[in-house]
């Protein structure tokens, strides 16, 4: 119990430090620090549009956060989420284009999500199989695959699936009935948020209340123990990565169905990396992923607004994220035993 509180305290501290760093950066970079800081921290809450966009942004982040946390729960590093996001979006959208006029909207959306899930899951499974069979670190293999896939998806979006009429680097649009309906107009918030919230709850139930979730957590805590104790570690690792890849790709799909209606080049502004940070801040707890994702969406939206209103490049949010990555796993950040006896 103490260690849980300790972890939570550390997360909050990291969040605090990162906000301070963000503030410092804004002050350093802007000609008018007061306005810029206000734009970064407060503008998000100033109107429905901004706030709705913040929530919309948190929808895919929750999913990648959940995806990362499943992998982490089994002590796997799924660094390929960026690729899974794109592949999932592309595969699901292709299915949607193919199915248009064939099935009614709800079924179409369900099918699109299913297709997208399986594509992303298969991509992650390749890394899992490689790890199980040959011991190649899933960290690097998933990353290589992902980097390649992102470029390949770009090719499809700019080539075979391109919507030539629009002149954008984007695919053909999905029919309107295959889209989520919007909430809080004119912002881009959509009903997909319920999907994300429900998924978080489902994953929490799976990891903490079911047999298979228990097994995955045991594998994550100590693989030798799990193996010795009679768990099929290979299989469990595989399923954890499978689930992680699938969840990551639904993050891509939900943005397509909810916001853009098509796959666009570079639509995921680092959902994959952010997902990892979110899972780390939430200490892998699926329900804590929700506030962590909203916090990240807040950071990103704040940076976007600051760039619009105060002439700051939004990439400075990356630096803030890097600070989070630096500190989030640091165990010594909050000393466990304050005032431990010194060597006399």
């Amino acid at each position: 119990m103490i260690s849980k509180l300790h972890n939570l305290g550390r997360s909050l501290m990291v969040v605090g430090i990162s906000l301070i760093v963000g503030l410092l950066l804004v002050i350093l970079m802007s000609d008018d620090p007061g306005d810029a800081a206000k734009a970064f921290f407060l503008s998000v809450f100033s109107n429905r549009f901004y706030f709705g966009n913040l929530l919309a942004h948190s929808i895919p982040l929750m999913l990648t956060g959940l995806a990362a946390s499943v992998a982490f729960a089994a002590s796997c590093f799924n660094l390929g989420m960026e690729g899974q996001v794109y592949l999932g979006a592309l595969a699901g959208t292709s299915a949607g284009i193919f199915l248009s006029d064939l099935v009614p909207g709800a079924i179409g959306i369900a099918l699109m999500f299913t297709v997208s899930f399986f594509f992303g899951a298969s991509l992650a499974s390749i890394s899992a199989i490689l790890k199980i069979r040959t011991g190649v670190s899933e960290l690097i293999s998933s990353l290589l695959l992902s980097n390649g896939i992102v470029l390949a998806v770009d090719y499809f979006v700019e080539g075979p699936l391109n919507d030539k009429a629009s002149g954008l680097a984007a695919s053909i649009s999905l029919p309107a009935e295959f889209r989520f309906s919007g909430l809080m107009m004119p912002s881009s918030l959509h009903t997909g948020i319920f999907f994300s919230l429900f998924t978080a709850f489902l994953l929490w139930f799976f990891l903490f209340k079911t047999r298979e979730g228990f097994k995955i957590r045991i594998v994550g805590k100590s693989r030798t123990f799990a193996f010795y104790t009679g768990l099929n570690t290979d299989k469990l690792l595989f399923w954890a990565m499978f689930l992680s890849g699938g969840l990551a790709s639904t993050a891509g799909m939900i943005d397509v169905v909810g916001i853009h209606g098509r796959v666009m080049r570079g639509f995921s502004s680092g959902y994959g990396w952010n997902g990892i940070a979110i899972a780390l801040i939430a200490r892998n707890h699926p329900l804590l992923i929700i506030p962590a994702a909203i916090f990240f969406a807040y950071l990103e939206s704040g940076a976007q607004i600051a760039s619009l209103e105060a002439n700051i490049t939004p990439e400075f949010a990356r630096i803030v994220q890097a600070v989070i990555f630096f500190l989030v796993t640091a165990e010594a950040l909050v000393p466990k035993h304050l005032g431990r006896k010194r060597y006399a």
């Binding site: 209340k209 079911t210 123990f225 009679g230 099929n232």
Partner: protein, 502 residues
Amino acid sequence: MSKPVLEINDLNKTYDTSGAKALDGVTLDLFSGEITTLLGENAAGKTTLMKVIMGIEKPDSGSMVFKGKKYLPSGPHFANEKGLGMVPQSIKVVDRLTVIENLVLGLRSNGKNIRMKHYRECVRELMKKYFLQLPLDNEVASLSTGQRQKLEILRVLQNSPDVIIFDEPTTLISDREKEELFEIIAKLRSQGKAVVFITHKLREAFSISDKIVVLRLGKVVFSNSRYKTSIEELHELLYGGESCTLSVQLPTSDESLLRVHEVSVEGSSNTEAVKGVSLEVRRGEILFVSGVAGNGQEELLDGIFGMRRILSGRVIFEGKDVTGLRPFELRKLGLAALHYDRDNIASCRDSSIRDNLLVYSLSNGKWVIEEKKHVLSARRLLCDYGVTFGEIEDPVSSLSGGNLQKLLLAREISCEPKVLLLGEPFRGLDVKSLESVKLLLTEAKKRMAIVAFSADVDEALTIADRILIISEGRVVYSSDVRPGLSAPDLRKYFFGATEGLE
């Protein structure tokens, strides 16, 4: 008398995890040209004391003075530089490096600035001086245990330290190597070094030391010159009036449950740790596989239980070939094991007591975990097996060694396997837990066959039905336990294989 080289004043040390007091106000002086023997049972604090001297563990309080200066070691490196060296209990050499490279690791830097080529000459001279011959360019993985220990001794001696500590050096080597070791130690004394020799064997202590110090539960209970004491007095101090009770039960003959046929098991880095071992065990009997630790017992357990590769031979379980099956397949069939490594493999430190205890019933239960039922059964089991604990959700690392052992036994026995393999079931248990564990095992064996792997022959004799001794990966002795069979008799076989070959 001259001034001591190393003065140890009132050291105290309590371990965080178990809360056990390892050192309790230890005060000790070491003199040049004197061999001091530290005697004591397991967990008496001998090794902790040495770790504190080398700077591996930091004491909670107390101080040390080395050659008249305050001495605050920060690690083995620091101790090396100052002029203290230790040959650790479990052998610490890097398998993947060659002998000479391993020697480099321990070379102190404030000596002369020597080059690799020059260094080889120095090492040769050193080997000649102490009659320790080693193949310098061989990978350490190919060396025998005895050779590895020689390597460690050389690694320490090359710095010509003033204080040299040998931590239980005689447990891993043969009688002949022991003689050689004693010669080296005598030589070091004549060179005016202060030698610390740690052992729990009385006779050894008596044969070479000048001063004998007895530790018990972290306290120095005796410290005197060897000539002013007797073996009897020390025996009394160490073991009290305790006598060995033999309770022999005739094995109920039943069908053979587990048969291991000519099995060879892979050791570390492509060596063969177990070489063609056969054994058989029936329901209702306890078979002890004994011998000096590190001679292939651990690997045999790992091999049978599918955690290490079997190179040749077969494992037959209830007439079915189970060679090379993995633990999850074996456990389904009814073979269970308690692993040697209790902290890292047999238990999961970060998980709760409940999860560690119920890992089988949880992972073979219903899809949705039935919390209430499991908490109840966990409490019942813990109560039945007399495990003392705080909260059922506390991490398992909060348990003491004895309680952890009981918890793990509870877990393994409660899933009612047909054959139970036990790695070092008695390690680290206090007398009370020892008795209760023995009782548990004699109770359990009515329902299953038990194979225990333990270096502790004395304890083995009290509950085993049969004993098998392994040396250098081969079975050198096998017999039913019968009245009159004594531990010293059995120990003769411990180095049987090596003696026979030479």
